[in-house]
């Protein structure tokens, strides 16, 4: 039996990145919504609702980076220098918001105010940086051989800025949906309003980003049936479920927001993200460094991939198992009397 190891690993890394976006997305979203909270006590509840799980959520980002290093070293070695500044910005922003979980509770008046701002600012900056990374990635990376050969600001274009703002709206939506699920009372009412605004912004920006992608990147447009002004409906048909999934997701979000129904809106938002994620993947697969390196060219040696797959086969089910258990343990509404430290 011979396993297509690079393909399996492309699936694993793609799943890790998706899980990161879905899980840390609402963590970052809560930071984005932080300045709009009604009171410091509300901010405490918002933070407490993710405090037990944010660390585990962010670990998927470590797996995304570490996994890319380990499974697709050539992609890692080309993408990281190409996206140097937004990656560093993301790391610094994640540091500031990460330490805020603890520091905010130990600071006195000024300290608390500073770390409240750091949590919000760090979350916004990390999200924008991730959007710039994504935008820069979709635009493509200049390569010479397998090494990055472009300039330091290649990633900075109107398109990548648009993607960054779109991600900001999307994470805010995830954060609002999470709060609807996990809080009650005034905060939940507020979260519903945030949810409506974020859902509208997400829908609009998703549409704009999708169109911009087709216009700016002809290579992606070809996959969707647009070529040299001509349009091939037959190419689009098999892909239609992807945007449909996004529309269904938006409908579910609206349903959940109307009734403030448990996790319904969060599930809907997840469907929207899933649709965007698959839609992008269709645009550049099998490239792992668009548009000059596919995942096979970037893959690590088979013996390394095989060894790691053996580890994953044992460890990943365990990770998923105890992650689900921890979420289950901390289920339920988080009240305003949840004092910390």
């Amino acid at each position: 039996m011979s396993l297509d190891l690079p393909l399996v690993w492309a699936g694993i890394i793609a799943t890790a990145v998706l899980l990161y976006v879905l899980l840390d997305g609402f963590d970052l979203g809560i930071g984005i919504l932080f300045p709009f909270a009604g009171s410091s006590a509300e901010q405490d509840v918002m933070m407490d609702s993710i405090a037990p799980v944010w660390d585990g959520n962010e670990t998927w980002l470590v797996l995304g980076g570490g996994g890319l290093f380990a499974a697709f070293p050539f992609a890692y070695a080309a993408l990281m220098p190409a996206l140097y500044l937004p990656i560093i910005l993301m790391l610094l922003a994640l540091i500031l918001r990460g330490v805020a979980f603890e520091f905010r509770h130990h600071g006195r008046a000024r300290g608390k105010a500073f770390w409240t701002a750091a949590f919000a600012g760090g979350s916004v900056a990390a999200t924008l940086a991730q959007g710039l990374v994504l935008g820069g990635f979709i635009q493509g990376v200049t390569l010479q051989g397998k090494a990055f050969a472009g300039g330091p600001f290649d990633w900075l274009t109107p398109y990548s800025l648009l993607v960054a703002v779109g991600l900001l709206a999307g994470y805010a939506l995830l954060g609002a949906c999470w709060l609807i699920w996990r809080t009650e009372g005034e905060l939940q009412v507020r979260a519903r309003r945030w949810g409506w605004i974020a859902a509208g912004a997400t829908a609009a920006l998703l549409a704009v980003v999708s169109l911009a992608t087709l216009f700016v990147h002809p290579r992606i447009a070809v996959r969707w049936g647009f070529e040299d002004g001509a349009f091939d409906f037959a190419k689009l048909v098999p892909l239609l479920p992807i945007p449909l999934l996004g529309l269904v997701g938006l409908g579910v979000v609206a349903l959940g927001l109307r009734r403030a129904h448990h996790a319904t809106s969060l599930v809907g938002a997840y469907l929207v993200f899933l649709s965007g994620y698959i839609g992008l993947a269709v645009g550049f697969f099998p490239n792992i460094v668009p548009y000059g390196m596919d995942f096979r060219q970037a893959a690590n040696a088979d013996n390394a991939l095989g060894l790691m797959l053996a580890g994953v086969a044992v460890l990943l089910p365990a990770i998923l198992g105890y992650t689900v258990w921890v979420y289950w343990l901390f289920r339920g509404k988080v009240g305003g009397d949840a004092g910390y430290h």
Binding site: D48, V53, D55, G65, G339
Partner: protein, 460 residues
């Protein structure tokens, strides 16, 4: 890639990893300490152990958080700044780092949530299990990262392909490279000592301020036990590790001891001012013949000097020589502190009543961190000019990024780390100054924790 980007990238890596290593070297020990405290509490029902646990777990949470966020940086920085290293070395050490993430990071992060927030959500047995799993996670993490580092110090079990990338041919030799066992033991003992020194200092400070209550007495005595046993053991393990350097990295050994000539009866330099340009020590205070004895076990043993290596193959001498002396000097002081404390326990009414000892314990509080960073400098700077010893030079490993970008990022890291480090240390010192709450002063509130009181049992 220009020289400036290389130097800046090295500075950035050194800075970010030296900052990072402070926290794991504390939290590896602290996690084990917390597991022991909780285990003792469950076994003896002595509330003092619980109150110590609740005190140290807050400090653990701060330190662990800082370790996590500074660690994320490292998993990306290999690519942003050392992309050639990544492409060349990943086929061999990629799996090691992936296993660290999969086997350790998720375990630590998930059960840390239970440890901090789960007091009323899980029973005592499961809570203790969570603490123990976090402790195990820190040790697994140390295992894989030291495995990768040991391989970079003394690479075995691989081959080089025509395109310059490496391939593993024997995973057992890669993971358990010959110097790995000693390095792993050395690192874990260093982490335990570092934690014991902080616990000892905090307990001593508390006793000096407010008298010998039960909690700080327990903390102090547990710390003394660790000094007395682990510090001498560390000397033995460190010596074993050093003996291997003689064979696998003779240039590093020559730098550690500032030997320039290859000869028998090498002197031992207590202090020296090595000058690379002049290829000699400008000033030295030495004991004749002792150098050969310490490093090779015999006065008549021939030990290589730096002049045996081409100038471009020599590591920096001054910093390696002095970092080694700082590490060993502090290690000897730790042994002394352990012996002193042990003697006080044995022959007097107790170390709690000896003011000079308590002040010495306070003064030694940061010694573990300094020793860890010094030891790390010896290991890493001593390996230069290679990043993978004998295989890949540091200068050839750097990313194709410009000096402008790297100086911007280095500056940003320095500012952000300066802020979070000073604030983090301030908050930790504040907690230490407050000290653990005595059980009598404790209210019925759930132990120090958050969601416990707030979350209602509502099905999702």
């Amino acid at each position: 890639m220009d020289l400036d980007a290389l130097i800046l990238s090295r500075l950035q890596f050194a800075f970010t990893i030296a900052f990072h290593i402070i926290f794991p070297s504390f939290t590896i020990g602290l996690a084990s300490f917390l597991a022991v405290l909780e285990g003792l509490w469950l076994a003896t029902k002595n509330e003092a152990f619980k109150s110590l646990y609740l005190f140290w777990v807050k400090i653990f949470a701060i330190s662990f958080g800082m370790g996590v966020v500074s660690g994320v940086v490292l998993s990306y920085q290999l690519g942003t700044n050392w992309s050639v290293f990544s492409a060349v070395a990943s086929p061999v050490i990629g799996p090691l780092l992936a296993f660290e993430v999969l086997a350790a990071f998720f375990l630590e992060a998930s059960f840390l949530g239970v440890m901090l927030f789960g007091w009323k959500k899980v029973g005592p047995g499961l809570h203790f299990t969570s603490t123990a799993l976090v402790a195990v996670g820190t040790l697994i993490s140390a295992f894989w990262i030291i495995s990768a580092n040991s391989w970079m110090q003394h690479p075995t079990g691989f081959t080089t392909l025509p395109d310059g990338t490496l391939r593993a041919v024997d995973w057992a030799q890669v993971i358990f490279s010959p110097t790995f066992p000693e390095r792993f033991a050395h690192m874990v003992l260093a982490a335990y000592l570092t934690t014991a020194l902080v616990v000892g200092a905090a307990s001593a400070w508390r006793i000096l301020r407010r008298g010998p209550d039960q909690e700080p007495r327990l903390g102090l005595r547990m710390a003394i036990g660790m000094f007395a046993i682990v510090a001498p053991l560390q000397l033995v393990v460190g010596d074993l590790s050093g003996k291997e350097v003689l064979y696998v990295q003779p240039a590093k050994l020559a730098a550690i001891e500032a030997f320039w000539e290859t000869r028998t009866e090498q002197p031992f330099h207590i202090a020296a001012w090595p000058d690379r340009a002049a290829e000699r020590n400008r000033v030295e205070i030495s004991i004749p013949k002792l150098g050969s004895l310490i490093t090779a076990g015999s006065i008549s043993a021939e030990v290589k000097g730096l002049k045996d290596f081409a100038p471009q193959d020599r590591p920096p001498v001054f910093i390696v020589f002095w970092a080694f002396r700082v590490m060993v000097g502090l290690g000897l002081l730790m042994i002394g502190l352990g012996a002193w404390g042990g003697w006080l326990l044995w022959r007097t009414q107790g170390p709690e009543y000896n003011q000079p000892f308590l002040w010495a314990a306070v003064a030694m509080g940061p010694a573990g961190f300094v020793a860890v960073i010094s030891g790390w400098i010896v290991a890493e700077v001593g390996r230069q000019p290679y990043v993978i010893y004998g295989v890949l030079r540091t200068a050839d490993a750097v990313s194709p990024v410009g000096a402008g970008q790297v100086s911007a990022s280095l500056l940003a890291f320095m500012i952000v780390y300066a802020v979070i480090f000073s604030v983090g240390v301030l908050y930790i010192l504040r907690l230490i100054a407050q000290g653990p709450e005595t059980p009598s002063a404790e209210s019925d509130e759930p132990p120090g924790n958050p969601l416990a009181a707030g979350a209602k049992e509502v099905a999702p």
